[in-house]
Structure formats: C-alpha cells, structure tokens
Amino acid sequence: MESIKQNPLVKKVGFNRIVLCIVLILMYALFCALTGGSFAGTRRILSALNYAYFLGFLSLAVTFVIATGGIDFSIGPVMFCCALMAGFSFTMYGVPMGGALVISLVVGIAFGIFNGYLVAYWDVPSFITSMASMNIAKGLASVFTKTQSVSWPQSSQDGGWFRSLVTLDGIPMGLIILLVIAVVCAVILNKTKMGRYILSLGSNKEAVRLSGVNVKKWEMSAYVLCGLLVGIAAIFFVGAYTTVQPGYGDQYNNEAIAGCVMGGTSMAGGLASISGTIIGVLIISLLQEGIMALGLDKNLQLIITGVIVIVAVFADVVARRRKN
C-alpha cells in the first residue's frame, strides 16, 4: 500500500483521485450489472451528465468557501432562487433571455456578497449566514414568484436558445463548459494571488492578516465567486430540468458538499482540489442515475450522500489527527 503511494506517477496524480476514479468505474460496472446491461449506453450517461452539470458548478462554488475554512449550505436554495427570479422575469415581465441569464448570475453574486460580508467583515459564523440566507432565498423566491413554480422555455420556444449551453446538436456543451470553468477555477486556486490567499487564510487566517494582507477582502471574494458559480449552476439546472418550485433546493447542498469533500478538500480549510471535486461530482451524479435506473426510492440518495459526507469528513479528521 505504502509503496503504491510512493510511486512517482501515483504521487503526481494523487492517490485519492486514483481511488475515486476506480470507485467511479466500479460503480458504473455495478449499475450495468444490476440493471442487466440496460444502464450501459449513452442515454443514461447523458442523463447522469445533466445532473453533473449543475451539481458540478455548485460543488466548485462550495469548494472555494470550504477552502477558506467556512461552509455554505445555502447554495441549493440560492440556486433555486436564482432560477426562479430569472425565470419569472422572463416569463412574466418579458425580460429577454440574455437578461434573464444575467439576473440569475446577479442574484447569485448578491447572495455571495451578503454571506461573504457577514462572515468576513462581521465575524458571523458561516453556518449561521448559511442558515439565514437559505431561508431568505426561499422566502425571497416565494415572494417574488407569488409561490408559483416557473417553467423555462423549451428549445423550440422563444428564448429556448439558452438550452444550447447544455446540449448543442447532440454535443454535450454543458460538459465542455463545466470542464473549461473547472480549469479556470483550478488556475484561480493554484496560480493566482486570490487562490493563494484563500488557501492560506483557510489554513491560518490570523497569520495571513498579520502579514499585512487584506484578509477580509479575500475571504469575501471566495463567497462572491461561490455566488457567481451558483448563478451559473441555476442556468444549467433549468437547462436540464426546466421547472423550478419555490421552497426547495436544500437537498442539493449535501450532494455538492459531498462531491467536494470526497475529492479531497479539507473541511478545516486550506486544502482544496478542483479535479477531485469534479470526480466527486461525477460519482454523486452516477449514483443518482443508478438509483433512478434501479427504481429505488429517491430518498435513498439523501441518506447515502449524508453518510458519504460523514465518512469523507471523518477520514479527513483522522488524517489530520495522525499528522499532529
């Protein structure tokens, strides 16, 4: 075991990521076997990918916040709030589709600013701001839409062009966009000042502050970036599932956090992996599709992701304990 870990190639790719990839492949094989082969084929894969798009953006979003040592479990409801407010503006107020997409991003960023400001400048614990903005997002969306659900246009309808962001002539555009943005996120995290400061302050905020760095600004920037990515996630959610209902969305929090912590991002902050997050998201998406394909209760997904997060975080706790 140790010798595998010390192999230079394994070290470079990351042991954790290799294990995750193997898990992903085994899961796929398992579902194929359990469904008598009907799981194989592009239909199921495309369906799983549809799920992976919005979840991928959500998971990338929360990766930045967790890297600072915080948490955001308002992302699911905020995503719904973005989709509802943008969609309602399109269907009821005649805002053009381009404008609606911008509204989605703006709403996401606004929540990011709200959360980030309270956490960074007022020292409010991040789980409290999460809890508050989760309810504010739900309430705001309900008030704005007068508690109606909103359906985004089909591709043949007026404004339906936005669906080409998800699939264009059979090409999974969503996957391309997700991977491009993931690369951008990886560059931000590993190659820029912003990423360096986010990771460092997640590891030891006070030391970074005493180095003369404006930690408040950088901590808040992680939340704002998170908000922007949640706004993008909203577009891909409706691109795949069309209809959104006010008052929901929190089931996706845990799945996003699960993808993130499975991928090797530490809940204690300071350590994050974008590629790990993406693989984690693929696992969760495949799991969701598998549960559907097997005709199991979709509530199982909630239970399983809950257990996954507990196990992943506990593994992180044990790893840190051993280091000290």
């Binding site: 000042k193 006070e206 030391a207 502050r209 760095v213």
Partner: protein, 498 residues
C-alpha cells in the same frame, strides 16, 4: 527536609525528531521546595507532563511514596496527590470560583449539586491560605493573580502531597508574589513536596531549598540552594553553549535617526499612555512581567488590535495605522510570540510563507510568478542558513528555530526596516537560539531597527541597546544597557502604580 516522597529516575522520552528527555533524574523530599531550572526548551515542562500522566514515558521509573507508579492521566495523578498548577491557567471563565475548584468532584445532595457546601468548603480553603476571594464570584472577573490563588486552592483541596508550580510568578505583581511565597512556605511546613519551576534567579534563592538543573533535555545536576551562587546555576544551565557576548554598552551609532516614534499610545486597559523612540540600527528591549502589556503595545502599534488614541511617527512622518496592512506599508514587520498561530501558515511551503507579505511583488497581474518566488525563497534560505530540504517543504516539518527564520525571511522580502521580535526564542532549542541572536545583531548592524519583547532577563541584558520596562499597561522606565541590572529592571517591572 523530610524523607523522599518522589523519585524520577532515568526518564527518557522521544518525540518524532526530538529526544526531549534523555535519562533525567529528579528527587523530591517532604517539606522541601525543589527548583527545576533550565532555559526554554530544556525539557522542564515535558518532565512534569510525564510525571502527571499527560505524556507516557519511554523508559525510566517513577517512585512515589515508596511505590513505583505510572499515572495514565492527570486524574490518576490528582487522586494520588500529585497536582500541577499550570502556567496557562486551566480555568472555566464562565463558572464561579467554587465551581471551578470542585469541577469533576462536586458535592451532591441526591442528584442536585450542593453549591452551598461547595462555597463553604472553598471559603474554608481560602481561610486556610489567609486570602480573601468570594467563592461565588465568576472566575473571569478575577485578576490573574487571584485566579492563580484559586488554582492553588484547587490543588490543596486534592489533598495533594506533591504540588508542581509551573512558572507561577510570571504574571504576578510583587505583592502577589509575596502572598504566593507565604502560601508556599505554609505548604512546605505542612510537609508537602513542592516542585517550583521558574526563570527568576532571585526567587530561586529566596524560596527554594534545592535546585535541579536541566539542559537540552538532559539532567545536569542538583545543588543545595543556599550553598551555591547564581553563577553556578547559570553555568549549569548554559553549559558549553557560547552565546553572543552580552552588550555592556549601547552599540547604536551616535546620532542615528529616529525611525519610529510612539507618542502617548492608548489601546484598551493593557496599553496606557505608552511613548518611546526607536533608532536606526538599535535593538530596543521591552521587559516586564507576563501581562504587563508589552505584546499588546506591539499589536496595537502594528495595527493588529485597535488603537484608542496616540500618534505614531515613522521616519519623522505621522502615520495612521489601522490594520497590519498599514503597518506593513510603512515598513513595520511583526514576529509574534506564538509563531504557529500568528507567524506562519504551517501547512504551506517555505516559499509560500516567504512571499506572504509581499505577494504583489511576485505576481504579474493576478498570477503568481512562481519562478521569481522560488528564487527569493532560496536566496533567504541561503542567507539565513535555514535548514530545510527545499523551499517546497511545508513549514510544519521545520524546527522552531528554522520556522522563525522563515518568518524573518518573510519580513526581509518585504524590505521592512522596523522589526518587532516578540519573544524571539520561545520554543527554540538552545543551539538555534544563538543563531537567532546573531541574526538580530547582524540585522541591526545593517541598519534595521529592532524591538525585542522578552520575558527572559538574560536575553534582555544580552541583546538590548536600550530597555523599556512596562508594568500593568504603563511604561515604568527606560534604561540604557550600561546602567541596566536585573535588580533595577525588576524594580521597574513590579512597581505598584497608584
């Protein structure tokens, strides 16, 4: 002195990479106060942690009351009568004094905790110690000195036979120290064995009967206090390590310009009306008791804590410092007493820590220039002789002294001309200590201005050109090194201010 109550023989303890205790011996008799001496990092605290069951020893024997024992946790040690009064107070600030004293062994009436009886018992303990503390007062409302008395009361209430005092006087005023000594003598006369850990040579002479000296984790020897001189003890503590020669006169070039002037600085209770000047090429020592407000002054001056009033001048110009960002902008760098919490990001590499304060300089737009970063980090690793396998090494894997060098590199990268060293050698082993001293002298000679906060008197006298003394948040004196002695510094540090 009575019969032997506790013997530790050949105690050995290793941590990964460090041989913390190397066959250490210690013997304590009933009715004696036994001093345990040694410089920072000599292994005193580790030895006491082995004794009270916090650490497990690798080898050696502990004999207590004639039987070989091994305590597995503090509870077992307490129950047997070996109690430690910690340097960092282990108190529950939200609970009352009596609740603190009896935590974990409350008196009960049925399922109900009998607070009334606990208060009475606490009162009895305080009467025995001849001190006046209200058992019903909330712990966090007491002064540090009173809290210490509560810790002692707690120790006595355990029916202790051996009490360990770990630097008990570090935070106490002179009157409080006298009170403490009275209590310790009382306990000694009742036949208890007392282990007394302190840095203060004067106290050792006053209160202890015997002294055991440790150095680099090893046992050096045991002396009868009244038969030995301070120099004997110091020689045993320092051993073969050759330190920088102590300064006897101010080495600052005459007419050196004032680079930092602090005028009537106020920041909370711990910093009241502090004024001083710092010259180019000078090492300005800050002495005082624990809690005298030295660190608080430095943090306020550095913008880490808010300032209430007062002016700061850098190179003759008045500056506004509201955050560490402002301070760094004006060329001030701060090396905290608690490196792991305030100085370095341990899970990041040497290079990343080196450029932490000056990342803009090593970036093109938003992107970090990792090549340039690596170059500067390697340059300082060489210049400061930092021992690390490479600049990509995580700082957590470095020793204390080398971590301190990384912090120094951080501020040199930023070209800071004013460096504040807060307890620069705390947690650094004896050998590396001198390297840090040399480095500080070298920096001063190169024209950096240095403030050094230190609780070690020897360090203050060894390094400073001038010395500022603080007590209870106020500046109580300023001395040139040529006129400074331990005695007059101590006088200023314990001056009661009305």
């Amino acid at each position: 002195m009575g019969e032997v109550i506790l013997t530790m023989k050949g105690i050995d303890k290793s941590f990964p990479g460090v041989h913390a205790l190397d066959h250490v011996d210690l013997e304590v008799r009933k009715g004696e106060v036994h001093a345990l001496m040694g410089e920072n990092g000599a292994g005193k605290s580790t030895l006491m942690k082995v004794l009270t069951g916090i650490y497990k020893k690798d080898s050696g024997t502990i004999t207590y009351e004639g039987k070989e024992v091994e305590f597995h946790n503090t509870r077992e040690a307490q129950d047997a009568g070996v109690v430690i009064v910690h340097q960092e107070l282990n108190m529950l600030g939200h609970l009352t004094v009596a609740q603190n004293i009896f935590i974990g062994r409350e008196f009960k009436k049925g399922i109900r905790i009998d607070d009334k009886k606990m208060n009475e018992e606490a009162r009895k303990l305080f009467d025995r110690m001849h001190i006046d503390i209200d058992p019903k007062e909330t712990m966090s409302n007491l002064t540090v000195g009173k809290q210490q008395m509560c810790e002692i009361a707690k120790a006595i209430s355990h029916e202790a036979k051996v009490i360990i005092f770990d630097e008990p006087s570090a935070a106490l005023t002179e009157a409080e120290i006298e009170e403490l000594f009275k209590i310790i003598r009382d306990l000694r006369d009742q036949g208890l064995g007392i282990i007394y850990i302190s840095h203060r040579m004067d106290e050792i002479k006053v209160i202890t009967d015997r002294v055991t000296v440790m150095r680099d984790g090893a046992y050096v020897g045991t002396l009868i206090t009244k038969d030995c001189t301070k120099d004997d003890i110091i020689n045993m503590m320092v051993g073969r390590v050759i330190y920088e020669d102590p300064k006897t006169k101010n080495m600052t070039p005459p007419g050196a310009p004032v680079v930092l002037k602090v005028d009537h600085l106020n920041a909370g209770k711990m910093v009241q009306d502090v004024s001083f000047e710092l010259h180019k090429g000078e090492v300005l020592g800050f002495s005082g008791l624990m809690g005298a407000g030295r660190t608080e002054t430095m943090r306020a001056l550095f913008g880490a804590d808010p300032i209430d009033s007062g002016d700061i001048y850098v190179n003759g110009e008045k500056v506004t410092i509201k955050s560490p960002q402002d301070a760094v902008k004006h060329g001030i760098g701060y090396l905290s007493e608690d490196r792991k919490r305030f100085g370095i990001v341990v899970q990041k590499s040497v290079a990343e820590n080196t450029t932490m304060a000056d990342l803009d300089e090593f970036s093109n737009g938003p992107f970090i220039n990792k090549k340039k970063e690596k170059e500067i980090a390697e340059k300082f690793v060489k210049e400061l002789d930092t021992k690390t396998p490479g600049v990509d090494q995580l700082v957590v894997n470095l020793s204390g002294g080398n971590q301190q060098k990384v912090v120094i590199a951080k501020w040199l990268t930023r070209n800071c001309d004013i460096l504040i060293f807060d307890e620069p050698t705390r947690g650094i082993d004896v050998g590396a200590k001198n390297e840090i001293y040399k480095l500080m002298n070298q920096l001063a000679a190169e024209g950096k201005a240095i403030i050094m906060v230190s609780s070690e008197m020897t360090e203050i006298l060894r390094m400073s050109d001038r010395i500022v003394v603080m007590c209870e948040g106020k500046k109580t004196g300023e001395l040139d090194i040529s006129e400074a002695t331990q005695e007059n510094i101590m006088n200023m540090a314990t001056r009661e201010i009305s």
